[in-house]
């Protein structure tokens, strides 16, 4: 949990969701040598949304960008035993992972 300075070149930030939907996730990665060395999240949402984003940051640490991009929402559902009504939380987490990676890549261009 927490934040990195989002202007830093080695930081990628993804913000997904909307307040009126009851979920907003901000996921940040710090990349060194093509590998995610650290990840942080901030989440507005229910317990499952917070847990999904927290798990996403844990899983991303140590992975390359390509590896992290392959994390699937279904894996999050399985790991956290999310009930059907909470599946959208895992989808949001997957979106946040992709958004953070995309942001990092865009900075590098």
């Amino acid at each position: 949990m927490g934040s990195f300075p989002k202007d830093e070149k080695k930081v990628g930030t993804g913000v997904v969701g909307a307040p009126e939907c009851g979920d907003v996730m901000k996921l940040q990665i710090k990349v060194e040598g093509g590998r995610i060395v650290d990840a942080k999240f901030k989440t507005f949402g229910c317990g499952s949304a917070i847990a999904s984003s927290s798990l996403a940051t844990e899983w991303m640490k140590g992975k390359t960008l390509d590896e992290a991009e392959k994390i699937k929402n279904t894996e999050i559902v399985q790991e956290l035993s999310l009930p059907p009504v909470k599946i959208h939380c895992s989808v949001l987490a997957e979106d946040a992972i992709k958004a953070a990676i995309a942001d990092y890549r865009k900075k590098g261009e």
Partner: protein, 404 residues
């Protein structure tokens, strides 16, 4: 102080020990059927029911004959709306209600709509109050019923019932009031308030679950209802079924106690509620009150905590029983329709928490709840990207959110 602390007294209340004491003999040695007219077991049960009917009628200033026992307020609402429509259908096919009614009224109205009844759902103002002028304008020649709740179960707002009652009388329309949250908490007088039909229940007032009543006016006007349950013709033919004597005795006792303690108890509830509100507002910014500041139930506090989501608050407050208008606590994934009806943005609707104080709450519990709420909200705001953005000076309303 015992944990968990129960502060969800709009959902239900514990049975008062005095109520339980009154009920117990009627499960065992006094088990008779109140409809058995030919032996002492029946007479004993019938007398107990009569006594309870008097206690209940006294609390709402009705005649005991006007009390129809049901299984609870949901059944009372169903009987009032469906029973009345069936009986008065030839006179008209239009009913008027409000958008913040309990689901027992709204879903019943929706079913009636499927049967061709026309329903007007009136909006409420930002505090949750129904405007009697809106009702007046909505009445047509075909209007047979106005159904407006006394006090809202989520935000505690109390409607101008006497004014609506006068209006209904002057326009010759029958007035049903769902008073489930009001009876026993605030003074109720069906005569002074011009109420023709009124739903309420036992378990919201420290009585047992499974028993409720529908007040049905007998004169000026005499209201007739088609029964929903046919059978032995109990309850003036409006609700058949053997009377649950122990529950009725408990309901009666609960009403008697409410009548005795109401002046003192409502003052104590207001003191506890204000202590809770002030305690939280002193330590946290961007907390908003839902519902009317003064025209509200003594025991209700409903707050929205900006930048945090209600279900995560409930999870953080594991050792405190409160409820939330958050989507995540409902099956529908929609935030509370009551809070939305106030014109509150859905972000704040997702953030609402209802505190329902009750007879058995103490100052110590209130102070504990203040402390735990403040800790939890602070922690969740630390975790909230919205709070961070707001502190950076970003206007959240101008943000282009990525939606699915």
């Amino acid at each position: 102080m015992k944990v968990p602390v129960y502060m969800d007294n709009h959902a239900t209340t514990p049975v008062d020990p005095r109520v339980l004491d009154a009920m117990l003999p009627f499960f065992t040695e006094k088990f008779g059927n109140a409809a058995s007219r030919n032996h002492s077991f029946g007479w004993e049960a019938e007398k107990a029911v009569d006594d309870a009917r008097r206690q209940i009628a006294a609390l709402i200033h009705a005649d005991p004959k006007e009390i129809i026992f049901t299984s609870g307020a949901t059944e009372s609402d169903n009987l009032a709306l469906k029973g009345l429509v069936e009986m008065y259908r030839e006179k008209g096919d239009h009913i008027i209600t409000s958008v913040t009614e309990h689901r027992a009224v709204l879903d019943t109205a929706k079913r009636l709509e499927k049967q061709g009844v026309k329903v007007t759902y009136l909006p409420v103002d930002k505090d949750g109050i129904v405007n009697p002028d809106d009702i007046n304008k909505a009445i047509t020649e075909k209007t047979i019923l106005i159904s407006v709740m006394m006090a809202n179960n989520e935000i505690g707002t109390v409607n101008p019932i006497a004014e609506i009652g006068r209006l209904a009388k002057s326009r010759g329309v029958i007035f049903h009031c769902d008073a489930t949250q009001g009876v026993g908490k605030i003074p109720v007088d069906v005569e002074a308030m011009g109420i023709d039909l009124m739903s309420f229940s036992g378990h919201k007032i420290y009585g047992p679950k499974g028993i409720g009543a529908l007040y049905v006016r007998r004169k000026n006007p005499r209201v007739r209802l088609a029964p929903m349950i046919d059978g032995g013709g109990h309850e003036r033919g409006m609700r058949s079924g053997t009377l649950p004597v122990p529950l009725i005795v408990g309901f009666g006792k609960a009403c008697e106690i409410c009548m005795q303690v109401m002046p003192e108890e409502s003052k104590r509830m207001i003191d506890l509620r204000e202590r809770l509100k002030e305690g939280i507002l002193q330590k946290l910014d961007e907390v908003y009150l839902n519902g009317h500041p003064t025209k509200r139930l003594p025991n209700n506090l409903n707050l929205s905590f900006a930048y945090v989501e209600g279900e995560s608050v409930l999870m953080g407050l594991k050792e405190i029983a409160v409820s939330s208008g958050s989507a995540c606590t409902s099956a529908t994934l929609e935030p509370s329709y009551v809070i939305r009806a106030l014109g509150v943005g859905s972000d704040l609707a997702h953030s609402s928490i209802r505190f329902g104080l009750g007879r058995f709450n103490t100052e110590e519990e209130v102070d504990y709840v203040i402390k735990r709420v403040v800790e939890t909200i602070q922690k969740l705001r630390e975790m909230s990207p919205l709070y961070e953005m707001a502190k950076e000076g970003i206007d959240l309303k101008t943000v282009q959110w990525a939606r699915d």
